[in-house]
Symmetry: D4
Subunit: 179 residues, 8 copies
């Protein structure tokens, strides 16, 4: 499968899959943040509803190919994350996509989140592919101190950005800031 | 698979499957009404999340075994009806079950109903396994005049029952009827 | 009634009705996919709320005119599919339309889906007229091997399209694919 | 049809109908309050889904039989109030019933309330058959000064009851009142 | 108060009020249909939240001024219809307006519909001011045979329009109709 | 009005009102926590829908009687908090009550929370009369150092209780704790 | 922190905080109305999720810096208002912001409103920062007669504006008013 | 903190925290399944709203104490999982608890799931503490082959149980199975 651009030489350890290429404009955020963390990932399409055998193959083999975490995005009656989680022993992160056929995202969320006992999907917020990537990095970091340190730094940067903006508002006043 | 009690000698043409034996207390209504119509059915458990390969086998082979219609019930993030529909060329009727892990049934409904283009599931009301059975009979009746006649009679009986009760209320008054 | 353009010479066996001509831009998808399968259909307006007698006539007579399946679309407090299903012995497929007066489609869905015992409507996803057409074809295919084969081919084509796109993403990388 | 017990000798001017006798335990509240106002009513079952022709007859003829207002209660995909309103020129009051097959009442409410332009249903709160009766009385009162006066008195009594209870709480304290 | 343009010489018998002038673009539909029926109405602003005393005065006096029916529209936490209904003995029709501060209309609907026992509001669909006007006409028609006849004609015209369009689609085919 | 039992000799500065005596079993929690803080309150019934003039009088005069904060509880289409807030210049705390006629509390919440610009209601969680009392105390504390200190102590006690229980679980293990 | 432009010389007594600078276009309404009332406020960013220690410091110290009321706005899983309320003894007003990552505002509302016992947040309507400012003024007014008088005047002005517009509609007719 | 009973001698690597001891009857399921997998865990109470400093300490130090994964459960406006995730670099699994103050669980789900960019919470289904435990095990298994093997075995056992029950139903028929 396609290795992400930033890490061509490494073996991918996170697999980002989605039910349709129309989900890619959302799901690319997962790949980009993983590249930022220096974690090799692959990106492809695996549709539970249109390619069920491919989905089964993918889920049965991902852990034998060296994949550590699967990120799966889908919209509407979104079965991909749950079906992959039912087969693979890897942690599966589900991204509910607010696709064009979704009812404000409620169907995407509920059909990914509400999995039965025995088959968890680690669900993130609607369209939150970036958070899926960060969560994958946190999981990788449970056995990789370099990534752990990068996450600590990442969170510190989030803080610094907010504090900078807060300082700017406090200094120049909210009215000037708005302009 | 288990043929329904009432039609042991016929080959089943409707298959009633469900994700868990806890759904059987709802799903049995489908079998009972089909038996009433004299349509042979089989009843078993096929879990998308716990037995994905069995589900794949079932869905790939149902039409070659002589099955004409599949009724699939599941609750929560209910993937069974949609997954079977993605594989089988048969019409699949989905019964959203209000299982104990469901959020008032909304998750069951949305994850069965909101299928993407190309993969329809004929969804009936929450817990409406009886209606799933009637719908299966109506489908069978599109090429079976005997069943068609039974459905016409069934709907007439529904009407007669209501008219009888209406007559009773009108005759004796609603107060007496309530006692 | 109007036979669909592609099958003028055949007798229609699927009837596509809708509550208002404003639903036609959604409901035409059902006619188009049926034409693709070579199944003759008719398309017209039957309003439960504005032409109740016409609706009653339609529902009482459809099966005597050779119709095998009815597809009914409506929005808001959508009574057409359920009312037709209450009268006709044919399978009725309901398409909840997200019309301008609908509350995000919830009213359309619930007033079509939540039918009482005895009167099933085979409900498909919001605005999913195409899936309604496919479901009608699957029902026709229960007694027509040619159509069954077409459905098997159709699902295979869905798979091939996804596999092609997946191959493209894997080969050129998701970044190039997005451009 | 059955005249309400309290007004046997008068011709009924309000008709209370419901889709199933199981709705009667809710709908009787409408009859009781109308009797309190001295307005003659009839009570019966008319099912849109099980007796469509009876429904059509009822709706076509109610105003010719001297009925002034129709109160219709139903649950789930509740089509009775809207269908009757589509045929009859009389004001139709809809009571969404939280029946056993309803999803917390949302389906009952939306399929009664969200009627298209041209076909209003005067919807009251979930299970609020009593309010349906009062609203019918208010409609009758637009041309009946005696009833108008009774409504004014009724609202005054509501006020007096509250003021009495308020006085009691204020006098004895809320703790004693609770016991 | 302002009499509607079309009936300047008659005394208004329907009063159309709304919480804000921003609701007028919706609520004007009620006035226009009433004018079509030849029923004199007045249109003004009465805000429960900004002019509570004016609202009280309005509600206390409407029936003494010859008003027969009140139509009240409001959005968000919409208290106007319910508050007027709590004071006036007249039938009050509530129009939930999907105003800019409303959550998809749910707040408008629930705060108008879910009135307690004793205080009904005849609620119509979201933004359905036209239906509010028709319902008011139906109420007036309970004691005015001329209006009753106009409503019967109005419903017949609805039917004829649908039948014309149906005929057009059936004759020229849905494809040509869509163009 | 009734002064709360614990502070008979002080003039009440918080007024706790509710639409019906059936709300008292919820609303008493506000009185009890205020008594715990030593803040005098009164408790009574003021119904927007059944005693509108009383409501108007109450709201117009509360601040002239020495009341500083109003707590208003109501359920269903809950207009009391918003109507009082529209008249009184005092801060009004709204408690959405999940009354028997409420749809899971959604109507109570939305009709209290979604007030238009100019008329805020300080809404607390469903049935959270205790929090309404604490919020009233916090408001009083903005000009009363003794109460401020009591609130600081109250929050510290909340913390200590949690820490005690945490210590107990950590010491004896969760299994023993559960027994 | 930044004092609001209109009150540079006074010590701020209301603090307006928000989780992200993207909330400022909504939250500025709170500052503007407070300036209109002549109440000094400060405006800054405090993110519960990105700057938790800053949030803790802010909440621990606000009341010692002379702040009387805190207004906190946030969207999505909005934890800022509740977390600040858990630490500070001051009244905290929560503004649910319909941010780009919010599901129609439902997540923002529920995660601010539904606080547990002991930790109230005074929640206002979705995006209703202006009402948050007015509520803060009402709280300040409980111990400041000048502000109380301004609020009374403000509400009178709201009334006068409505009465002016009502007069205009009544005088010129709604049709001319709409143009 | 309290080590789980089954693994007293190992250092805990999963930390199970909850906002209130009333959540323990749900959250114990996470500890039990982890014990089944032989993964040492600790169980305690950390309340975001009642012990914010303790929460901050916990979140800042968990990874330095050897914890690899945090499971956090809370109900209503559930801020614990998100707040811990905002501070700790570890993967945080959130369990929405349907507590007594929750609105059917919607508030619990949305306030855990809908986290902003940068701060993911791995959300599982309502009350699904068991799935949280399994997900934690899957995360541990990304660097522990023994646990990975146990998960593969666990999923195989789920399958075998279903196949056994399916066989039983097929053999004895559904009617006998139900008894």
């Amino acid at each position: 499968m396609a290795k992400s651009a930033g890490r061509k030489t490494s073996h991918p350890i996170v697999s980002i899959i989605m039910g349709s290429d129309s989900d890619l404009k959302i799901m690319k955020d997962a790949a980009e943040i993983l590249e930022e963390f220096g974690i090799a990932c692959e990106v492809t399409i695996v549709s539970a509803h249109r390619t069920p055998e491919r989905m089964l193959d993918f889920a049965n083999n991902a852990h034998t190919r060296g994949i550590k975490v699967i990120i799966a995005g889908a919209g509407g009656a979104a079965h991909l994350p749950g079906m992959v989680a039912s087969i693979s022993p890897l942690p599966v992160i589900g991204v509910p996509v607010k696709s064009s056929n979704s009812i404000d995202g409620w169907d995407s969320i509920l059909s990914i989140l509400q999995m039965p006992n025995g088959v968890p999907v680690a669900t993130v917020a609607l369209n939150a592919a970036k958070n899926a990537g960060i969560l994958a990095a946190e999981i990788i970091a449970t056995s990789d101190k370099t990534i752990l340190q990068k996450i600590i730094t990442y969170k510190k940067n989030l803080k610094d950005t907010v504090i900078d903006k807060a300082g700017q508002i406090e200094k120049e006043g909210y009215k000037k800031f708005l302009k």
